[in-house]
């Protein structure tokens, strides 16, 4: 088994090669930037998605750089602005392909390719590529949660056959992470459960079935069996971790189990469940249970709903009149404001966990994004994107950056490079790019 430490070293070598930047310096064993055991603090990657975009004229700041003036729809993120970058002017390039409403924008952003048909997934999503590189050492390759109640609300896709389902209940997320199978890294005594060995042999016995089966299958099924095998190996790895004493982690704390909550697309319930799951996720990261996560606050074509209103977020974006005096749709924009508040609270929660000489957020790179800019028009140009966190010092924050109508794959490429993947070009067709967003590098 590759140890966590060698894995990180391997990927760091890749960064140095790909970017030709002296990033290795950041990972020297300076006081406070390392585990007590001497291994560097891990850098985590996450995505945070909200549906139905924003109103460009109310969201995009009027100036670039550090001193971007606040805007009505970014007001909720003012308190955490030092942790963020605001990215505007990046497009999903349809290049003659159909704009599948509420799908093309997000699939283009995350996979680097526009889907010919709505169900197509042209390539693995960004988080899966990153998890394949940095997620192998932890108990979970990645964790997904959605605040709107459906496990299908997930954009973490290995391919069209494998969509990593979202946890939808705070209690279920808690049980998955901190329930059976969790070893407290700070426990005084480590006593492995002998049952784990039996479990491991039960799963490993399947290996022979696989070899036999693979010879009989066509290429369509072999690809599916590969995904099955990846999943099986992940569980084997989880079990192997349970047989080792985990290294102590100063930032790790076990939360209390949340009470069962009402789960629905009512925006107040979604905000509550999002907050509870964000707390659990922050500690799952601090306890190094995963290094990759994906949050869906609301899905594309947002089904968020305000109690007592006959029309939900998505329908409002299409049917509500643009208020002549205000110049926007006030009812639909209500949900934009709630989404930005949720995002700001998510960032604040990661920033509230102290880790090393900084915070958990300092060791994260989170990309927030939506599937449209102006949802009423299903517009996939000028998509709203934000990053949060310094990725262990690799990212400069606090700026408003414009893509000047470049392909949004520049962002995805940069995310991969910042996370240490040796990638110099990314994207398909008109979306292929070799140009990273240099302003993001510190």
């Amino acid at each position: 088994m590759t140890s966590r430490r060698t894995f990180l070293r391997g990927s760091l070598g890749g960064v140095a090669m790909a970017l030709n930047l002296p990033l290795l310096d950041l990972f020297l064993d300076d006081a406070g930037t390392a585990f007590a055991s001497g291994a560097p603090l891990p850098v985590r990657f996450g995505t945070w998605f909200w549906g139905c975009g924003m109103n460009p004229q109310r969201w995009i700041p009027s100036a670039l750089g550090k001193d971007w003036p606040s805007t009505p729809e970014l007001a909720p993120v003012e308190l955490v602005r030092q942790h963020l970058n605001i990215l505007s002017g990046f497009n999903v390039v349809l290049d003659g392909a159909a704009n599948h409403p509420h799908i093309s924008g997000v699939i283009g952003m995350l996979t680097g390719g526009v889907p010919p048909k709505p169900e197509d997934v042209p390539a693995p999503s960004l988080d899966v590529l990153i998890a394949d590189a940095i997620g192998n050492g932890t108990r979970f390759r990645s964790l997904e949660f959605a605040a709107t109640g459906s496990p299908r609300h997930s954009y973490s896709l290995r391919d069209a056959a494998s969509r990593n389902p979202s946890e939808v209940s705070p209690l279920a997320l808690y049980q998955r992470v901190f329930g059976s199978g969790f070893s407290d890294p700070n426990a005084a005594v480590f006593a492995p459960d002998p049952e784990v060995l039996l479990r491991k042999s039960a799963i490993s016995a399947v290996g022979e079935d696989l070899k036999r089966l693979e010879r009989e299958l066509g290429s369509h099924d072999r690809q599916r069996l590969d995904a099955y095998l990846t999943s099986l190996r992940q569980l084997e790895h989880q079990l192997a971790l349970q047989l080792e004493a985990p290294p102590p982690l100063a930032a790790c704390r076990i939360p209390d189990a949340p009470a069962p909550t009402e789960i629905s697309a009512d925006v107040d319930r979604a905000l509550d469940n999002h907050a509870l799951m964000a707390d659990i996720l922050a500690l799952a990261l601090a306890c190094d249970q995963t290094r990759v996560f994906n949050v869906v606050f609301s899905y594309g074509a947002s089904n968020l709903q305000k109690a007592g209103n006959t029309t939900g977020h998505h329908q409002l974006t299409h049917e509500e009149l643009v208020d002549a005096k205000l110049g926007y749709q006030p009812e639909a924009t209500f949900f934009v404001d709630r989404s930005m508040e949720a995002w700001a609270s998510f960032v604040a929660k990661l920033a509230a966990v102290e880790e090393g000489d900084g915070t958990l957020l300092d060791h994260c790179l989170v990309m927030a994004h939506s599937e449209t800019s102006f949802a009423k028009a299903h517009d996939v140009t000028g998509l709203p994107v934000m990053t949060a966190g310094r990725a262990g010092g690799r990212v400069a924050t606090g700026r408003h950056i414009t893509g000047s109508n470049d392909s949004a794959t520049r962002i995805g490429l940069t995310m991969q490079q910042l996370m240490g993947l040796p990638v110099e070009r990314w994207g398909m067709g008109a979306m292929e790019t070799g140009s990273s967003v240099s302003e993001l590098f510190s």
Binding site: M17, G96, A98, N99, H100, P101, G112, G113, P118, P122, A123, R141, S142, G149, P151, R152, R158, A160, A161, S162, N164, P165, L198, S201, A202, I203, A205, V206, E208, D209, L217, G218, S219, H220, D221, R224, L225, A227, Y228, T230, L232, Q234, L235, D266, N303, Q305, N309, T310, G312, Q315, H318, E319, L321, K376, A377, P422, V423, E424, R425, M428
Partner: protein
């Protein structure tokens, strides 16, 4: 009466026979096979059948994926994610613990070990053979038995418990890809080496999942083992047995749950400020109501499939009675009832389950309902929005006083780019406007009388009853039943070489008086059902998304 369409069916049938002489249903070039992930229902039913209904299956299943209108087709495309595998593993362990706990083990283990604290290769092998056959739906090879017996011995040595060994073996069978996926195999027909025929065990599994939605029972496995399914007579006998069994109802319900998208009912929530009467219990009762009507109509009464769209027969609980506005005598459970002759509740498309599912949380949606009727009941392909549509022009609604859904939609439909799709779906859904977003009857919306004028294929239909009659008389609806059941049985769209077969099925369905179980029999006994072109191959790989250095 011979319609032009029937003539076409006959002629293509004849050509097919000429092409492939000697086979009963020859006009078919069969399509590919792909493994299918078992559904949550199939998993649960299989465990209940192989062990006992008391063995609890606890855990979450990975969401299924809908393709060509059916989850059954999606099962031939989905794989298993890490989160899904964790869940399968946890379920497997909980099942194995229950089956082999000290109370139950005598019931399920086929033998007693010589020493309960030591490995016993003979007894372990008997266990592996028995449950391997039931769970993987084929006999295990000797090397497969040996490797699992070795696994059991290893676990027994570690724990000093023979049954702990069996527990590990059972858990490993339950996470095997051949349990979680139905893997079908084919071999060349000895008489016609160019024809690939499903193996007896693969055919048994395909039949059982198609007709009963579960793993083959012992009688069917025995017929497979004795090569009886390879003969027309033996196959017909088993199919007759499966069709005559009370378990056929489970199979028919599974198909209609899938077709009617009832899995999505779990995600339905209604705004209780708008619909204060609404509850999860009502939704669950409504689902059961529709499935009861379907099973009663198609299985018990063996009635005309097309009359599902006009039947007034129903089943009610007290809860449902409140929503439907009908008195219910039974204090608990369902009672058979029928809607009055002047009731707008005509056919399953007027049930609360369907109406509430295809609506928004706080209001009705003629568009969503129209899409459902078009896609699920009529198999109309609704084209995707054209490339680069400027959606901004659609929504420039100048008039803020659009009170009814009809007015809102008409404003929305004036744009040519959108009109093509909306004209296809909205008029169908408008006929169902007398039902609000929760499926309750209403005469007005926002104080304006409901106008229930709709249209289906150029014919005006006013209100739910007329829509039901139009669906009953629609040739497309009957043909769609054939196409839907084909997709369900084969896990895919018909291939080009199977179109003549589908046409022939349409004709025979008509000839049978639209008896659904006869259609099931036609498919199950067909040559297409038993043969294949081989494993499905993936399309050529897409260009690489990323380039690595070096």
């Amino acid at each position: 009466m011979t319609s032009p369409k029937r003539n076409l069916r006959v002629s293509s049938f004849v050509v097919g026979i000429l092409l492939l002489l000697g086979c009963r249903d020859a006009p078919v070039e069969p399509g590919p096979i792909a493994m299918r992930r078992i559904t949550a229902d199939q998993y649960r039913q299989t465990i209940a059948d192989v062990f006992a209904p008391e063995i609890k299956v606890t855990g979450r299943f990975e969401p299924d994926s809908r393709r060509n209108g059916l989850l059954a087709v999606g099962t031939a495309w989905v794989s298993i994610t890490p989160a899904g595998f964790e869940q399968y593993d946890a379920m497997a362990r909980r099942i194995a613990e229950q089956v082999l706990d000290p109370e139950q083990r005598r019931r399920f283990a086929p033998c007693l070990p010589a020493n309960p604290a030591a490995p016993d290769a003979k007894c372990a092998a008997a266990f592996v053979r028995k449950y391997g056959l039931r769970l993987l739906r084929r006999p295990l090879g000797e090397d497969e038995v040996a490797s699992r017996v070795a696994l059991a011995a290893e676990a027994t040595k570690q724990t000093g418990d023979f049954y702990a060994g069996l527990r590990v073996v059972l858990a490993s069978l339950l996470v095997s890809p051949e349990f979680l996926f139905r893997v079908e195999r084919a071999v060349a027909d000895p008489g016609h080496p160019e024809v690939l025929r499903l193996t007896d065990f693969s055919l048994a599994s395909r039949l059982s999942h198609f007709l009963w939605n579960t793993t083959p029972d012992e009688a069917l496995l025995l017929a497979a083992e004795r090569s009886e399914l390879a003969t027309d007579a033996g196959l017909a006998r088993e199919i007759d047995r499966l069709l005559a069994s009370p378990r056929l109802e489970a199979g028919v319900r599974a198909y209609f749950s899938d077709l009617l998208e009832f899995d999505a009912l779990e995600d339905v929530s209604k705004d209780t400020l708008v619909y204060p009467h609404f509850s999860r219990q009502i939704l669950e009762d409504a689902r059961e109501q529709t499935l009861r009507v379907v099973a009663d109509h198609l299985v018990t009464r063996r009635a005309d499939y097309r009359e599902l769209f006009t039947t007034r027969n129903s089943f009610m609980t007290r809860n449902l009675g409140l929503v439907y506005g009908v008195p219910v005598r039974a204090r608990e459970g369902f009672e058979a009832t029928s809607f009055a002759a002047d009731s707008p509740r005509v056919g399953i498309q007027s049930h609360v389950s369907v109406l509430a599912l295809h609506a928004h949380p706080g209001r009705s949606s003629p568009t969503l309902r129209g899409i459902f009727v078009r896609e699920a009941l009529l198999c109309t392909e609704i084209p995707a929005a054209p490339a680069n549509v400027d959606f901004t022009v659609v929504q420039d609604v100048a008039n803020p006083d659009l009170k009814t859904a009809r007015e809102r939609l008409e404003a929305h439909r004036t744009e040519a780019a959108c009109e093509s799709c909306h004209r296809l779906v909205d008029p169908v859904g408008l006929a169902l406007e007398p039902f609000d977003g929760s499926g309750m009857f209403r005469a007005t919306e926002n104080g304006v009388a409901i106008d229930a004028r709709g249209e289906l294929d150029g014919k005006e239909v006013v209100g739910p009853a007329a829509l039901g009659e139009a669906l009953r008389d629609s040739e497309a609806a009957a043909d769609c039943a054939v196409l839907g059941l084909f997709r369900y049985a084969f896990g895919r769209e018909p291939e080009l070489g199977e179109r003549a077969f589908v046409r022939a099925l349409e004709g025979r369905f008509e000839d049978s008086g639209y008896r659904f179980s006869d259609l099931m029999r036609e498919i199950a006994t067909s040559e297409a059902f038993r043969t294949t072109s081989g494993p499905r191959e993936a399309p050529a790989a897409a260009p690489a998304a990323g380039k690595e250095i070096g």
